[in-house]
């Protein structure tokens, strides 16, 4: 691994100049600085755990998808032993991309340049004309495999890191695991990705969508005003700033930079708002309003896979949106449908850096593997209509972020700061079972500020 001490930018600017931890302000320069970006690639994207996909994408031996860890292209492949391997998609011979397709099945990956061949686990098989020993004799075959990343599968999600000796995946999740398990590890068969992810590129720095993913609930009220106008969140266009539907709940944040907004579904969405849970048992509540993506039939599985406290949370105030540091948005929501009902939409987004001024938005859409086909169909349609490329909700985000990016180019604009000063402070609600920092009430800046503190921590650690 690389070893570099804390950094100072070439004009003498330090991380503390950019992130003012007394004022809770971040200089807009961070969004438009090539030098800082290179440090981020080394200190964050080459160091921490990154989301690459889901194991349902590559069910068979030899199946692979090609994905990105920062700007490093990798092959995510299932080997003969069933294990998932993540290897750098760069030929150790002369640097050609080994796998030129984006997905497929191949027992052997043969580089098209000179023909060096590799197994799905990245190991080197050999070069053509074996007797001529075209890989020479200075290095053994063991040394000539594709560079391998460390892999962890969590709830079927494929994570990888180049930090072989670094924190375990559990350490990376920390107390967020208790909440994320309620989304990813709640049923016997788990989630299924409903198709390859949607992908599109936005002209903005990766941190603009990523800091929002750290539970920026507040923007919903104004940027996603059309949701209120559609009447789906209770309230009307005229009253949105008075009763602020969906803005109240419990935001939870973690030292690692992850966060989740736990919201009472019945409070958030008008279609459920006349439900009365008074005097109902947990199971009755779950049956009346199962969390997004869950059917009545799957409720017994919740009890089997989760603790009673976790089930209680799912029944009363489930985690619905949030983020995983550094670049993942989690959305397990009820989204409006044309028929007035809701099937739920389960989506994860990875915001993959593409240089200081570009990000690739990768939208993964899920359903529970054991839910009926018709429900999968409905959830797919609901997710596509509300999130990602053409999503009615996220169109507005995709148009906003590039405008922040363009602003960050200006000499004066760069010196402006992003402000995270609406702070609630940690306050554990009575009877709250989960860990982390809790911010009950109106959604504020705490979780996003935690995101920047996590960023600061990684960026100031030795690379």
């Amino acid at each position: 691994m690389l070893h570099k001490p804390g950094f100072v930018l070439s004009d003498g600017t330090t991380l503390d100049d950019l992130i003012d931890r007394d004022m809770n302000e971040v200089s807009m320069r961070v969004m438009d600085d090539a030098e800082l970006y290179h440090h981020e690639m080394e200190r964050i994207f080459a160091k921490t755990w990154l989301l690459l996909g889901h194991d349902s994408e590559i069910p068979k031996s030899g199946d692979y998808v090609v994905r990105d860890m920062g700007e490093d292209n990798v092959i995510v492949a299932r080997a003969r032993d069933g294990q998932i391997n993540v290897s750098l998609n760069v030929c150790p011979h002369r640097g050609m991309k080994v796998c030129t397709a984006e997905a497929g099945n191949a027992p052997i990956h043969r580089c098209i340049y000179h023909g060096w061949a590799f197994r799905p686990d990245g190991s080197f098989i050999g070069a053509p004309i074996e007797k001529e020993q075209m890989h020479g004799s200075k290095r053994t075959k063991d040394e000539l495999g594709l560079k391998k990343a460390r892999v962890h599968i969590y709830g079927g999600l494929i994570f990888a890191t180049w930090n072989i000796e670094g924190p375990s995946f559990d350490e990376f999740l920390g107390d967020a695991k208790y909440y994320l398990d309620q989304l990813f590890c709640r049923t016997d068969s788990g989630l299924e990705l409903l198709g390859p992810p949607q992908r599109f590129v936005l002209p903005c720095n990766w941190k603009i969508p990523s800091e929002q993913s750290a539970s920026d609930g507040f923007h919903t009220l104004t940027l996603h005003r059309s949701l209120m106008e559609g009447g789906v969140m209770g309230g009307t266009a005229e009253s949105i700033y008075d009763n602020a539907p969906g803005m109240y709940g419990v935001d939870v944040g973690f030292e690692q930079g992850h966060s989740l907004r736990c919201l009472e579904a019945a409070q958030t969405f008008k279609m459920f708002s006349d439900m009365s849970f008074e005097g109902k048992t947990l199971d009755e509540r779950l049956e009346m309003l199962p969390p997004p993506g869950i059917t009545k039939e799957l409720i017994p599985q919740l009890h089997k896979n989760l603790s009673p406290a976790q089930v209680e949370q799912l029944a009363t105030i489930p985690p619905q949106v949030g983020g995983m540091f550094p670049n993942v948005l989690v959305a397990f929501i009820f989204a409006p449908r044309t028929d007035g009902g809701s099937s739920g939409a389960l989506a994860l987004h990875a915001y993959v850096p593409r240089g200081p001024h570009q990000v690739e938005f990768v939208n993964f859409i899920f359903a529970e593997k054991d839910c009926p086909e018709q429900m999968k169909r409905d959830m797919l349609q609901n997710s596509i209509q509300q999130t990602g490329t053409s999503g009615l909700i996220e169109q507005d985000d995709a148009d906003t972020w590039p405008q922040i990016q363009r602003a960050a180019r200006g000499v004066m604009s760069k010196t402006q700061t992003l402000k995270y000063q609406a702070i609630h402070g940690h306050e554990k609600p009575e009877g709250w079972q989960g860990g982390g920092y809790c911010y009950p009430g109106f959604t504020k800046d705490d979780t996003q500020w935690n995101w920047w503190l996590a960023y600061h921590r990684l960026m100031s650690a030795d690379a």
Partner: protein, 191 residues
């Protein structure tokens, strides 16, 4: 069971060109009327006359845009993935979209200036009476705000147009975009 894995190639038949065996020749009355309709549709969308556009849609419309995935070898032509889409709409959901555009839809307020170029139109007769298979190429230039660089997209549209009392209505559209990673920041416009 639908195979949704990313690694598996799309199992639906590879479609190339017209499925219909009965060609509607270029320059014929029907061909000309359909071509006019496509031009009118492009103008309605470019001019953001969404009520006029909706009036051109059949109520049983299915409107989709599958994703593309780069494949090699034996599967090199199976690069359309219909398990995932950029658009997955019906007449009702398109009404929801056009309805939103009259309210606080910041993605298109202020609106983009767009120019849709529709070419390479091929028409065939379908079994259902008065229904025509219409394939066209689409190229879109989109100017957003004061940004001097336009966003573009290109693709093929596989449509079914239905003659309803002398007026052609769109009954099916599949938009096959050329990019596997879209360069357009959002699809807040119709294709």
């Amino acid at each position: 069971m639908i195979d949704r894995s990313t690694a598996s190639a799309d199992q639906s038949a590879i479609v190339r060109g017209l499925v219909s065996k009965v060609r509607v020749p270029l320059g014929s009355e029907i061909y000309n009327r359909i071509l006019e309709t496509l031009y009118d549709e492009a103008a309605a969308l470019d001019e953001r006359r969404f009520d006029d556009w909706v009036a051109m849609l059949a109520e049983d419309l299915v409107y989709t845009a599958p994703i593309r995935l780069t494949r090699n070898g034996v599967n090199k032509d199976r690069d359309v993935m219909r398990t995932m889409m950029h658009f997955d709409d019906t007449y009702e959901s398109l009404l929801l979209r056009t309805g939103r555009l009259t309210k606080s839809a910041w993605a298109e307020d202020p609106p983009s200036r767009t120019r849709r170029f529709v070419t390479n139109v091929r028409v065939g007769e379908l079994d259902a009476p008065e229904e025509y298979e219409v394939i066209s190429y689409l190229y879109v230039e989109r100017s957003r705000l004061s940004v001097p660089e336009n966003e573009q997209t290109s693709g093929e549209r596989r449509d079914v147009w239905r003659n309803v009392g002398g007026v052609y209505k769109l009954a099916r559209r599949e938009i096959i975009l050329d990019q596997s990673t879209l360069s357009m920041a959002n699809l807040a416009i119709f294709l």
